[in-house]
């Protein structure tokens, strides 16, 4: 009818946001018809959007059985954290060698922002600042491809990462680690920056056993519910 002129790309962005921010939880069904009427478009662009999201791994499409927000098994979660730690370490290592002074200044500001929020018992606020700090380091590696890849893994893990910070004492430790990483970067100690970042990320992966006791059931079940 009224050809909206809006692109299917918008759907990808909207759904991605809903998944990353947790509005849509792993395992949630993504019904093509409901989505099409919710966004006031036909099923075709909805299908294309889901296809794209399936490519990034955010949703899982089982042939003839529909698409759901991707659930990750514990084994996959551990694997992804292992890769994530290495990619972030690489970002930090390269950032220590390549980051411009002016960008390091901005990184100091972001670190201060994190530190300011650490005591406010505001885990969500800290989470946002934390994301900005890490993304500034991704950008600092001066490797756009690495930056994209790292953000992609982060996005897939984000529904699970968010829960991590609710563990007691994690915010404080995280903030301290940020300061150490920043110090290594600002002094150009690439190896140290990489090692610290790897540990900073890996500690979340290592805490997966603890996670088992905290996380809602739906987050952990494999795709076949």
């Amino acid at each position: 009818m009224a050809p909206t002129g809006k692109l299917a790309t918008d759907l990808v962005q909207a759904l991605e946001r809903d998944i990353v921010t947790g509005v849509l939880k792993p395992g949630d069904r993504l019904d093509e018809r409901s989505l099409s009427e919710r966004f006031a478009v036909s099923r075709t662009p909805v299908r294309e959007a889901l296809q794209t999201l399936a490519g990034t791994g955010l949703v899982t499409t089982m042939p003839r059985r529909g698409t759901v927000v991707a659930s990750i098994t514990i084994a996959e979660l551990i694997e992804m954290f292992e890769v994530m730690a290495e990619l972030e370490a690489m970002c930090a290592r390269l950032a220590a060698r390549r980051m411009a002074r002016v960008d390091v200044e901005k990184l100091f500001a972001l670190s201060a922002e994190c530190a300011a929020l650490r005591d406010h018992a505001n885990a969500d606020g800290y989470y946002e600042a934390n994301v900005r700090f890490h993304e500034a380091i991704y950008a600092g590696c001066r490797n756009a491809y690495l930056e994209r890849q790292t953000k992609n893994v982060r996005n897939r893990l984000s529904p699970y990462r968010r829960l991590q910070l609710h563990r007691p004492g994690r915010v404080e430790r995280s903030s301290d680690e940020h300061a150490d990483i920043l110090k290594a970067i600002s002094t150009g100690d690439a190896v140290q920056a990489g090692d610290l970042m790897r540990a900073h990320v890996a500690v979340q992966g290592e805490a997966l056993n603890d996670l088992l006791a905290i996380v809602p059931r739906a987050y952990l079940e494999p795709l076949a519910s």
Copy 2:
């Protein structure tokens, strides 16, 4: 009409193969209608396949301007080799720690296969054996996610990698490096295996300046031809 029952997934595989093997070269237009009649399907599954390929980065879709086989600029190529080297190094490092003895035996066989082909002036044959050797190491890291990611980067680089081996002396050196990497893996020296693999892959990236003089023009031009 005749409902094929076959999945659009087949199209992805076919196109992927054509791109990876070089039948379709970077910059080639992928016209939806021609593809649909070539594969005897309608435009819908073709579009879905292209959407999927765009997700993996093998093709580039410019809104309203069609999709082409992804061209990579020199800058992107360097970036991707930088990431590739690190991912493969990680695979080798983990493989040295986790690979089963029986799989190491198979790796020895693959290495011997490479060595056997090194003197046959058969660059394509060596290329295939080389791929199998590397993929065996990916599998050996026992991290399916890392394996997928690494294969993905490799696929995107493959049109450019293939040319590397045609450089004089490269096959021989590559084969020697395989032997050294294998030795480190079989003795469980994880750090050494990682470092050797990183160098093994990175040397191709470092040779990009040489590549400039060899590669066909079409391979290097940015998307906007």
